[in-house]
């Protein structure tokens, strides 16, 4: 469904210092800098897959998504989505995709969402019968009933997001690009969005590409992740694989029936948390078995759990490693990596 | 306390004006109505003077009008209504500085910039119509006071209407109505002494005149000394009146704002 080959996206930014003198200088001579937002990225996504893009801010996730949707032209490389070249922005292509951007909305602010629905219906040329059916299904799936008639500005953030999702899917696109869709939402609304996306994907076999820096989004929704940092793909595979590869350490949670001294615990592994009743240890894979055995025999335990470290930590470790490698290998050219810019930067 | 903060406010206001210089320039160039009116009257006066104005006289009048308008301009009504609508007025109210004082500082801080843009106008005025400018040094002496009064009146009216946005949804529409009426009665579109007598008599006592026409009259050296002083007193009488109105409206507005949580 989606094929990306050696995609690179660079753009030139005009760097300017604040102040009157610099402003005058910039009139005469502009200092330009090339930023490489996406650096030789290659991957493929099959129809009906759900893939997550993980990465810190400025990694190139949103840029990649915008190239895939045709909003940006690649600097080099080949991109195909649903058999078409995105940057051509043909009508048939545009009718098959949708882009949802968290914090930005296409719903008309002063009018009820239903008005935007009608507008989109005309623009996407959706036949009456299909439109009615889709609206019904979306209303049911998202619980939109009372919301559609109220002006958008009167809806809460979560309600607005639900309506945004609905309007984005009115034309039943085959490919969904979701750019940070859960940002700013409360926990229950995040869960709603996730379950809805999953339901839509299963019902319509739509391909979903999701960017997020909320690990839970990715963990719950995406069997496959692409990790992007500084414009490069540093991992492509199942999330479990990623965790194993990065942090072979496990977390051992101990519930104690009485307090235990630090030195007794240090022998088993690195102490992450040390409380009177609960202790968290970090233990490497190799040491795991022996540490667990010793804990079970030597410590006054009420309970023992072994689990993977939280995703956030895994990612942090991953990016920290990446940053260190960068510092060592940075070439002396004027090419800066990463840095996602806000739209319309002048 | 506000007095101590004022210089700092002026400094930041100036920095802001420089940062927004492109917008500023455009705003100033959009003040071109006097020139358009000049084109009209210059055509009329081609064949002979109209009332007391020859072609050169009209040039003097409208360039002076442009000058006064550029220097007494304010935009506080837009700032105020936007802040009220977006709810950010609450932030200003939390600071130990009266919002209106802050706005006035921002406005005054832009004066140097406005001056720079107004300079060419002054230049052209002096070069093409010097003969029509006033020669009485006494009138020139009170001119800055009249300019200050004109700026104050403009600012105060805008502040009053802006404050009304705490009560009304359509305060901006009220302001547009004010703009329309004042365009006619302040001498902006047409010199007041070209109106029919009945209209003139009314226009000469209304506050609109003191926003614009009065300083222009001083530039053109029209009033006699005694009259000029009387007019100056009238202008500042209006200033005090509007100040009182603003104070009352502001207090009432804040009470309402606090009651409704903004």
């Amino acid at each position: 469904m989606i094929a990306v080959e050696h995609l690179t996206k660079e753009y030139r930014v005009h760097r300017r210092e604040p102040g009157l003198r610099a402003a005058l200088r910039s009139l005469v001579r502009r200092s330009m800098e090339t930023v490489r937002a996406v650096d030789d990225v290659t991957f493929e996504v099959g129809a009906g897959e759900r893939v997550g893009f993980l990465g810190p801010n400025g990694a190139g996730k949103t840029t990649t998504l915008k190239v895939l949707s045709g909003l940006l032209h690649p600097t080099s490389g080949k991109v195909t989505v649903a058999g078409e070249v995105p940057k051509e922005r043909s009508t048939s292509f545009l009718k098959q995709i949708t882009l949802v951007m968290g914090q930005k909305q296409q719903l008309l602010w002063d009018l009820p969402p239903s008005e935007t629905f009608l507008l989109n219906r005309a623009i996407y040329d959706i036949p009456r019968a299909v439109y009615d059916e889709t609206v019904d299904e979306l209303t049911k799936l998202l619980g939109l009933g009372p919301l559609l008639g109220k002006p958008t500005r009167q809806l809460s953030l979560g309600e607005r997001m639900k309506c945004e999702l609905a309007v984005a899917l009115l034309h039943r696109p085959r490919v969904l690009f979701l750019d940070e869709p859960t940002i700013g939402l409360d926990v229950s609304m995040q869960a709603t969005v996730r379950s809805f996306v999953r339901a839509y994907n299963e019902r319509f076999s739509a391909t979903v590409l999701l960017t997020s820096h909320y690990m839970d989004d990715v963990a719950e929704l995406c069997p496959r992740v692409l990790v992007i940092d500084h414009g490069r793909v540093i991992f492509d595979g199942a999330l479990g694989e990623l965790v194993k590869r990065i942090r072979p350490d496990k977390r051992v949670l101990l519930r104690l029936s009485r307090p235990v001294q630090r030195r007794d615990l240090e022998a088993l592994g690195t102490i992450v948390e040390h409380g009177e009743e609960a202790v968290v240890l970090q233990v490497s894979h190799g040491q795991l078995q022996s540490s667990v055995q010793r804990a079970l025999t030597q410590l006054p335990l009420r309970d023992l759990t072994v689990e993977d470290p939280p995703l956030e930590e895994v990612m942090r470790e991953l990016f920290a490693r990446g940053a260190k490698a960068e510092e060592r290998a940075l070439p002396a050219t004027g090419v800066a990596r990463g840095a996602e810019h806000t739209d319309g930067a002048a | 306390m506000a007095v101590k903060a004022y210089p700092a406010l002026l400094r930041t206001g100036f920095a802001a004006a420089v940062a927004y210089r492109a917008e500023f320039l455009i705003w100033m160039f959009s003040t071109n109505m006097p020139l358009i009116m000049l084109a009209l009257w210059a055509a009329v006066a081609r064949n002979g003077p109209v009332g007391p104005y020859t072609q050169r006289g009209f040039v003097a009048y409208y360039l002076a009008t442009l000058l006064v308008r550029l220097m007494s301009g304010a935009w506080v009504v837009w700032e105020l209504t936007m802040e009220i609508r977006q709810g950010t007025l609450a932030l200003r109210l939390l600071r130990p500085l009266h919002p209106l004082v802050a706005y006035s500082a921002e406005n005054l801080a832009a004066l140097p910039l406005r001056g720079v843009i107004a300079l060419p106008v002054v230049g052209i005025l002096l070069w093409s119509a010097r003969a029509h400018l006033g020669h009485d040094p006494f009138l020139w002496a009170i001119f800055p006071v009249a300019m200050l009064g004109a700026w104050l009146l403009t600012f105060l009216v805008m502040a009053i209407i802006g404050t009304l946005a705490l009560f009304l949804e359509s305060a901006t529409s009220l302001f547009e109505a004010w703009l329309g009426i004042s365009a006619v009665l302040s001498g902006y579109l047409i010199p007041l002494d070209l109106f029919p007598h009945a209209v003139q008599r009314v226009a000469l006592v209304l506050p609109f005149r003191f926003l614009l026409s009065f300083p222009v009259e001083l530039i053109l050296g029209k009033p006699a000394r005694g009259d000029a002083l009387l007019l100056l007193a009238a202008q500042w009488g209006y200033v005090l009146l509007f100040l009182a109105v603003l104070s009352a409206v502001w207090r009432a507005g804040l009470r309402r704002y606090a009651a409704y949580g903004g």
């Binding site: 909003l71 009018l111 009608l118 | 455009i26 009209l40 055509a43 359509s170 529409s173 329309g180 006619v184």
Partner: protein, 262 residues
């Protein structure tokens, strides 16, 4: 084609619904529109209180130019400007992407996004002015004259629209000068007067460079039966060429936006 009409109808419906949201504002804006028509007429009334002919135009003939001005201004401020200012808002908020992702021409979608229906008062006002003018002239324009003037009107509308598209295309690249559109609106005021008012350099500018004066002068001449076919066809051709140029500029801007931004 049918789809195009469906889109236009849907978009107009949305912007009308938007405008009708605030009913009080609707009435207020309508009243303001009436006020502005009045304010527009006053200078002419004063001028023709003192003279019979101005730059070759009699009072009723001048009224025709003014009538067209009112109509065009209503169109500019009621349809073109609000919609295109909206584009600039989109660029600022980052939501232009949504428009570019729609399977419909972006220029079409943005051009009718926001319409202020109360400006139809301007059209009514223009009509009344025409009726009065011809009553004063003591005759009625021939069908051919009316047709010719409508053709000139369409040309004028197209030129106005194209200039605005050009301005917005510039704003894409340099977002800070988005109030260039606002500047254009005020420059448009030169179209109040017939082009013969302007002499010398100004005449050249406003006849050839930025043919604003012609936008109201030509339809007025057509109504009076004074427009030569050569001039009419020439201006139509020029208009079409200009519109094509504006479209190219828009496409270039969008192209640059998509390839140069992040």
């Amino acid at each position: 084609m049918k789809r195009l009409f469906a889109i236009v109808r849907a978009q107009l419906r949305a912007s009308a619904a938007l405008a009708l949201q605030y009913r009080v504002e609707f009435v207020v804006e309508g009243a303001l529109a009436v006020l502005w028509v009045g304010v527009t007429l006053i200078p002419i009334l004063v001028v023709f209180g003192r003279t019979q002919v101005l730059a070759g135009w009699s009072f009723p003939e001048m009224l025709l130019v003014l009538g067209w001005f009112v109509a065009l201004k209503g169109f500019l401020e009621g349809a073109v400007s609000p919609s295109l200012m909206n584009v600039i808002e989109h660029v600022r908020k980052g939501t232009l992407d949504f428009i570019l992702l729609k399977p419909a021409d972006a220029q079409l979608l943005v051009s009718i996004a926001k319409i202020e229906p109360w400006r139809v008062v301007d059209l009514a006002g223009a009509l009344l002015i025409f009726v009065y003018a011809f009553h004063a002239l003591g005759r009625v324009p021939s069908a051919l004259d009316v047709a010719a003037s409508l053709a000139m009107l369409v040309a004028a509308l197209l030129v106005l629209y194209s200039i605005s598209i050009l301005v917005v295309s510039i704003a894409f690249i340099a977002v800070r000068v988005d109030n260039l559109l606002y500047l254009f609106q005020s420059v448009f005021d030169v179209a109040r007067w017939p082009s013969t008012i302007f002499r010398g350099a100004l005449a050249v500018v406003f006849t050839y460079l930025l043919p604003l004066a012609l936008m109201t002068t030509y339809p007025a001449l057509a109504l009076l039966g004074k427009l030569t076919p050569a001039t009419a066809f020439g201006s139509l051709l020029g208009t079409v060429a200009f519109a094509a140029f504006a479209r190219l500029a828009w496409r270039a801007s969008i192209g640059r936006y998509t390839s140069a931004s992040s």
